[in-house]
């Protein structure tokens, strides 16, 4: 049986090649994903830190976002990773704010009730907010910017960072934030207006 005689080694060789190809493809996709994460992780961390005002919380958020991207979307095309990652990251930041809001409500209920905002996510300032007005006079521009960003309402902060720093357009920013394009324009405009006022001495 000539076909049977040569079939087994051919099958084996084919499977070995397929396995080698698969391994190479897997290594290549791993390297591509690693490059993507390495390129975005610092900015992601800073964004989470501006939102939470806490390094450990920010690191946890970034790690969660990275894990979710790797587990759920690593097989997608690399050019899809950016929008997906930002969507996950902003969602995690949003979740953190929700949990924080619940804590504040309980504290308010147990103690004094001084927070009665209808939409805290849009208006709630950073819980660890510093006072930018007090610091702007004697800090460097970069520190002043970080301070001012940390004091912005979350939605304005997200819109500003995604549009300015990540370079996302209005539609991509809206997708990442999970809101309408009109909301993005409003939040971004307010953020720029506030930041320019606060940083006028540094960047007139």
């Amino acid at each position: 049986m000539p076909t049977a005689d040569t079939g087994a080694p051919a099958d084996s060789l084919q499977a070995t090649h397929a396995a080698q190809h698969t391994r190479e493809e897997s290594l290549e996709s791993r390297e591509t994903l690693e490059r993507f994460l390495a390129g975005i992780e610092r900015r992601a961390f800073r964004m989470a830190q501006f939102a939470t005002g806490n390094r450990d919380e920010a690191l946890d958020i970034v790690q969660d976002a990275m894990l979710a991207l790797a587990r759920l979307y690593s097989k997608r095309q690399p050019d899809e990773w950016g929008p997906l990652f930002h969507r996950i990251l902003q969602s995690r930041i949003h979740d953190w704010y929700r949990r924080r809001r619940t804590q504040h409500r309980w504290l308010a209920w147990l103690g004094k009730d001084d927070d009665n905002d209808e939409d805290p996510l849009a208006a709630l300032p950073d819980p660890d907010a510093r006072r930018p007005e007090e610091q702007l006079g004697n800090t460097r521009a970069g520190v002043a910017l970080e301070t001012a960003l940390g004091a912005l309402p979350l939605r304005q902060q997200q819109a500003f960072l995604l549009r300015t720093w990540e370079g996302l357009d209005v539609a991509a920013t809206a997708a990442a934030m999970g809101c309408s394009e009109g909301s993005v324009k409003t939040h971004y405009s307010r953020a720029v207006h506030t930041l320019r006022e606060l940083l006028e001495d540094h960047w007139p």
Binding site: A8, S12, Q14, A18, T22, E34, R43, R71, L161
Partner: protein, 112 residues
């Protein structure tokens, strides 16, 4: 121009943010690197399992082919040692040739 001022402000803010990201402390950088490694390890391994499955299939195919090539073509129709003995000696062959006679003899012997 207001737009020019805004553009300059945006550019300056972006540059300041870039600097801040480049100036992270070593501990934070190390923790980000660890988080990245953890994420990379968490990728689904479907392709690896496919490769293992392919190799297993190839090995099974090779085993089957080898068995078909090297196994005896016809198995001996032996049902017992007595039959082997009967067929291997000349007395047994003569008995088969005269089988009809021995049957007739046995029938008549019983009748007698």
């Amino acid at each position: 121009m207001t737009d020019d001022k805004e553009s300059r402000f945006i550019a300056a803010a972006k540059a300041a943010l870039d600097r801040s990201a480049q100036q992270l402390d070593e501990l934070t950088i190390a923790r980000l690197r660890a988080a990245r490694s953890k994420a990379l390890e968490a990728r689904p391994r479907r392709l690896a399992w496919l490769a293992v499955g392919g190799l297993a299939t190839a090995a099974l195919t090779a085993t089957l082919v080898a068995f078909l090539l090297f196994a005896p073509a016809v198995a001996p129709p032996v049902s017992g040692l007595e039959q082997v003995d009967l067929l291997s000696d000349n007395d047994g062959l003569e008995l088969y040739r005269d089988l009809e006679f021995y049957r007739w003899l046995a029938e008549h012997a019983d009748a007698a």
